[in-house]
Symmetry: C2
Subunit: 558 residues, 2 copies
């Protein structure tokens, strides 16, 4: 009875999950918060935009979570560690870290332990916004084909922005880095005992979405383009990689040292690393026509389209990358920069409450009808990832009176994230990628039924919930079963593995036609504000507050 | 040693003040909350916009506050009630109430005690917005001269909107009303024992600012115009008035019945009624070049220009009325619909705090530099009174991140009211009414030094504070001293009475040039948002969030 191991590196903690290959049964899991920083994130009192992570934390939690999961799994008489036939790894991204020539993390070097620039640059680090703008400018002018695959705007969250920013603000640290690696690639490379950065097998997922990688133009951006950033960046190119791989490939096999540390068999295959939401999409059973939305601090949306189809570039969609999720399909990734974080900001940061206030506001907000509060918000407190791809946007709340309550604002923020979600659906549909149903995953999707119903009502789509509450780790375990292959007790392809190992919860949220009709009107107003403050339009806005007041009055009569 | 009595009818309470004529010494005062409703205001659970007051409360508090003040004044050996030589009355406005043929309040009739439409329609009742819009439309088309004097837009807070709305929603109550009277006129008429509405001496202050009254066109709007509203409104005209009076006139003399109830001399003169902020301006020592700003739940701004000058109509300024404040001067009134109410909404309504949270947030907000929060707000949670004159506008907050604090938003709301104040100053300066200094009054002006400094920094003007903390009642007492005249121990004119009876506190707030320079930039952004959502412009707004972020970064370097 074979099992696989899925490892998931989130924003605040790491997770190990042991899954039974036959039916996806989640035998045991173990979660551990990263020991360093504030909730696992290294912050700077000087700069709100900075977010780093200590790479040593990844190794500490790797050992602890795997050993923890194995210890729990031991309770099952059928299980033993040698029945684990493969490992899959996912992580946040783009989260690049500088490494030394032996592939060890520069941030783990005692000389750099307190150097924030030598640590892993977490996905939500936005210090590189000036570099991102410059890369966008250079790309538009000189390499439009690069930008076309990532929504025509390069983000401060991404690989080249961050590495270049490191060079600009701390050339000494940059010079100490032999190479740079995405976290999703670095953890598999450690497990495989890779001791030269040149030998790391990089995933096409992060490479294609975040680093302008595509086979069309021979891999990473050409040297001439990188020289426009800086000669040092161009020089780095040869210590990076020429080829990146999809999830039909392994990143290597488990080395003896790590096999010992973890108590697993040496030599089992390690799937190529993908970003968390991509393996999460697989853990939710992604397929054509179904969009997976992982709702956490932020939101990532993933869907797939057969690589046989002619998928156009989609403006504002951060990535359309062949093989990024499933081999043989274009992976389409989009997302919203703040979702759970936005609600947390309101309830904890502003209202000064805790979990019980979340529950109280949810109860109160549930009693409101669409339009009743007269409020409209933009979900941009952490910038906009899709479809504007602009980190220097910020939040907006409109329509408040002297009677507006905190619960009304709470609901308006939830609705704002739903409108943001709909913007993405409308954009990809416009370019030939229709979405019939949405499969959600993440704690909020499981707990907040009000939010789920609002998402159904705003988007007009059926909303389903992934059976697993650890879809990312499950998706990694599915990938592990595929690289292990049928001869070892795994699967020949992802279709078979997904069918056997993933599923949905019995609940589904269907759009209410009356609520949907009101939200159609509110969404039109959202689009106006979105386009005005996003710099897309100069339409008249004088009607917006009036329209909101009319909708408020209508909702009273409803 | 003569004294006068000033009576002030505010939004939540009534006040009586006994003032020594020689030097303005405030001998004794007594405040009493209105007994009915929520903090003195009758509300409706069905309609946020409704705000009424029970007229019986005015009579109850009249007797109680005057007797209370007299009792306190008795401690002064020099004082006796017969030394009171005159009475002045101010009130909120436009606050019209329906009266019966004997000048008693319809709302006091037991048959109408629970009828909200029979009560006094408090200034902040906005149920009449549809009527206001229609009056604006009719006025623009048929009587532009009427609208020119009140900012080209008629408000839902005003006389004709309210009376017409009563007819539209409750014709039976309308039919029961023999006439309608402004509260500022009704209280003096009760004191004078006027038993026919036709005999009430109405003040030009409320008439000119709120009811389209002007001598230029022979008083109230002509019958043909009122017929366009409704025949019933036109028919009401003859039970209203043809002439209204400035503060050089009396509303009558104290009748025997009220003299007995209050314990005062029969026959002492009662000054014509003015709205609270107008007599408040006098209590603060208003003069040409000095603008008086009474900061309370909302804000009223008043200044004067000699009637010899040719004052143009000023778009968006709700009133330019000869004699409305001082005889011989145009009175100019402007205002902001929510100031103290806006802070209260945030601290109490949203953050769920009390007075101590106000203090805590003020302390925290004081440490912020201009621009540091990256926030910008519109002060429209209760609509916009000046210069847009549009009650159907609402609030807006922009620029928030996931790190934005409640104290930052608190400060942004204070700044928003300062920008609103500056909009008024810039508009009247543009039309030839420059303001060199601002004299503030009201509790906030005395207590919140942070707010006062922000106002100085945003407006670039010296901000002074009225010596009296009950300027409205003091102004009423000044008017009483003028109508009593020098022969009784009062004064021959307002200039002499103001000079003797009013003054400033020693403190003054001077603009800080560096803060003013930053606020100049923020004010430009405020104007953009103001004009966009106010329906005035269709300029591009895509730069707004970016500019705020730049100012935030600049403030870090400052």
């Amino acid at each position: 009875m074979p099992y696989t191991l899925g490892l998931d590196y989130g924003t605040n903690s790491a997770r190990a999950l042991i899954v039974r290959c036959r039916d996806g049964k989640e035998l045991a899991s173990c979660v551990m918060p990263y020991p360093s920083g504030t909730q696992g994130v290294l912050l700077s009192s000087d700069d709100d935009l900075l977010a780093r992570q200590h790479p040593g934390d990844y190794l500490t939690t790797l050992e602890e979570t795997v050993r923890g999961a194995l210890a729990k799994a031991a309770a099952d008489a059928d299980f033993s560690p040698d029945k684990i036939i493969g490992i899959g790894v996912d992580s946040t991204g783009s989260s690049p870290l500088p490494v030394k020539a032996d592939n060890s993390a520069l941030g783990c070097d005692p000389a750099h332990r307190d150097n924030l620039n030598a640590q892993c640059w977490l996905w939500k680090d936005h210090t590189s916004h000036a570099e991102a703008a410059k890369i966008t400018e250079l790309g538009r002018k000189h390499r439009p084909q690069y930008l076309a695959k990532c929504g025509n705007t390069y983000s401060s969250e991404w690989w080249w922005s961050k590495i270049w920013h490191c060079l600009n603000v701390d050339p000494e640290t940059f010079a100490q880095a032999y190479s740079w690696v995405e976290l999703a690639d670095w953890v598999p490379s450690q497990l495989a005992g890779v001791d030269k950065p040149e030998n790391i097998r990089r995933g096409v997922c992060a490479a294609g979405h975040k680093a302008f990688y595509a086979e069309d133009w021979g891999g990473l951006p050409d040297e001439d383009f990188l020289k426009m950033l800086a000669p040092e960046i161009a020089a780095l190119r040869e210590r990076l990689y020429d080829k990146a791989y999809d999830a039909s490939h392994t990143a290597g096999t488990l080395c003896e040292a790590w096999a010992k540390r973890l108590g697993l068999r040496t030599g089992i295959p390690i799937a190529i690393g993908e970003m968390d939401v991509h393996y999460g999409a697989i853990g939710c059973g992604v397929s054509e026509g179904a969009l997976v939305k992982v709702i956490g601090t932020s939101t990532c949306d993933c869907t797939v389209v057969s690589a046989d189809k002619d998928v156009a570039d989609i403006p504002g969609i951060c990535g359309i990358v062949q093989g990024a999720i499933l081999p043989g399909y274009y992976g389409i990734e989009a997302g919203q920069s703040a979702v759970g974080d936005l609600f947390k900001w309101w309830v904890e940061g502003v209202c000064g409450g805790d979990g019980s206030l979340h529950a109280e506001l949810t109860a109160e907000a549930s009693r409101l009808r669409p339009g009743q509060s007269g409020l409209l918000a933009l979900d941009w407190n952490n910038g906009n990832r899709t479809v504007l791809v602009d980190q220097r946007l910020s939040g907006l709340i409109i329509g408040q009176t002297l009677h507006t309550t905190r619960a009304e604002i709470y609901r308006a923020l939830i609705e704002a994230t739903a409108y943001g979600a709909r913007m993405i659906l409308e954009r990809i549909a416009e370019y030939g990628v229709p979405v019939e149903r949405i499969i959600c995953a993440g704690g909020i999707a499981e707990k907040n039924t009000m939010l789920m119903q609002i998402y159904a009502d705003v988007t007009g789509r059926t909303i389903q919930v992934s059976r697993s509450d650890q879809s990312c780790a499950l998706g990694s375990a599915v990938a592990a079963a595929v690289v292990a292959g049928p001869e070892a007790g795994g699967y020949a392809d992802f279709a078979a593995a997904e069918a056997a190992m993933t599923g949905l919860k019995p609940v589904a949220y269907e759009p209410d036609p009356r609520a949907h009709a009101v939200y159609d009107q509110l969404f039109k107003l959202y689009q106006k504000i979105h386009d005005a403050f996003g710099g897309v339009s100069t339409e008249a806005l004088g009607h917006v507050m009036k329209d909101l007041m009319c909708l408020k009055e209508d909702s009273r009569r409803a």
